[in-house]
Amino acid sequence: MEFFNILRVQSKRGLLLATAAFGLLGIAVLYHQDLIPSAWARSTEPDKGYHAFQQTDTAFQTLSDFINRSPGERGEIDRLKGVFTKGIGPQEDRSSVFPPSQRALGKVFDPDPLTIDAAQQGPIVPLTSSFDDVGTPMGLIPLDQTIGGSLGPGNIANTIPGSVIFGPNGSSSSGGSGGGGGDNPPPPPTSAVPEPSAWALLLVGFFGAGFALRKGRAKDDRRRQMVAS
């Protein structure tokens, strides 16, 4: 509550100063993050040490034009970041040259269903009724995978293409770990950089919290007044 009392400044000048400071802080942060285009932030200086080639003799007009088509020598340049950075100056967007035809989500790729079908070469036949000691399902075995000889069901199942293997109870060394990977792929990892919507939500949250606190304080004040009266 003390904090909000500080904010409740009576003089308008103080508030204006605070607003200006906030704006300057925002601009400074943006500038630091290279979010301000350098051409906008710093006025482009004229290139140094080069004056247009002066030529009055028409006999050399072509050569003069050839020289004068240059914008001049390069002047001051923007600083280069380190060697292993994303580029020079503001982030370059080169996607307009070669627009991407595909989009990958966090390097997680869906398995191609066609290749799984080709590996199985037939329908999935569960062998639930073939064995007495039926355990937990161990996954799908592709046709070309050999299974260790320690497990009877595995050997039998190996002869049936695309069958579901059930290992015995308590067995963890079954060869059923291979498979077509029919499960859903894991969700893509969360990006380290928040999306714009996340920032917007954060701001909305701040506003909401501020509003709630303010409302609460007003209620407290009214209650205090009622008690005092």
Partner: protein
């Protein structure tokens, strides 16, 4: 509170506008092509006639002086007629009527320009960006060692479309963002469309010459020599 909200909204608006501006440079940097249909014969004060549209013929004296000043390779007969200074991102391309022959790429770091010559005629010219003082673009005569239409540099984490490598240690001519204050790590950056056209005609083995021209020598020569001699 009212002022706080006002400041917040203004700040947010400013930040949004700046971010939007920052996302737009590729659109704002679209190369502008200079209209090459201008007939220079009709322009006043031009002594040399143009056999091809948009092209200015060089006299033998001019060609010799230009070659001595490292402005172009020896034996050039005509250059593109460009009356105004080009800006970053602009380029001119005109190969109408120029016979098929080997291409000669001429990069002048001092004038920040590239010129493409074929059979003694200039067919393309653009403003370039090149390496910083710390990571200089090498001078000399090179050959294109390899061409890569879609090249992504892992060293710099940057797209380098239409990359044409001229050294073993990664110096290339490639498409780049063209800005006056822009520099590279040693490569020669070209406008997108220009690099695409150059990529189409350049072959592995095409000569690339990177020079630092000396226009003062021409100026000295002209001030010392009366024009009536020519």
């Amino acid at each position: 509170m009212k002022y706080c909200l006002l400041g917040l909204s203004v700040g947010l608006g400013l930040a949004g506008a700046l971010i939007w501006l920052n996302m737009e440079p590729s659109k704002r940097e679209q190369p502008l092509r200079i209209n090459q249909t201008v007939d220079n014969n009709s322009q006043s004060g031009r002594m040399h006639s143009e056999s091809l549209t948009g092209r200015a013929k060089l006299s033998l004296t001019e060609a010799r002086m230009a070659a001595q000043a490292n402005l172009m390779p020896p034996g050039v007969q005509s250059v593109l007629a460009i009356d105004t200074p080009l800006k970053h991102g602009q380029f001119v391309w005109n190969e109408n009527g120029v016979p098929q022959a080997s291409t000669h790429i001429w990069v002048d770091l001092r004038r920040q320009t590239i010129s493409i010559f074929r059979a003694g005629h200039e067919i393309g010219s653009a403003i370039i960006v090149y390496g910083t003082d710390e990571k200089q673009t090498p001078l000399g005569r090179f050959e294109i060692l390899s061409k890569h239409r879609h090249y992504h540099s892992r060293s710099y984490g940057a797209e380098m479309p239409y990359a044409m490598f001229i050294t073993e240690d990664g110096i290339a001519l490639h498409s780049s963002v063209l800005q006056p204050r822009h520099a590279t790590h040693g490569c020669v950056g070209l406008p997108d469309e220009f690099s695409r056209r150059l990529f189409e005609i350049a072959e592995v083995g095409t000569t690339v010459e990177i020079v630092h021209s000396d226009t003062e020598s021409i100026e000295r020569h002209l001030t010392a020599t009366p024009a009536s001699i020519h």
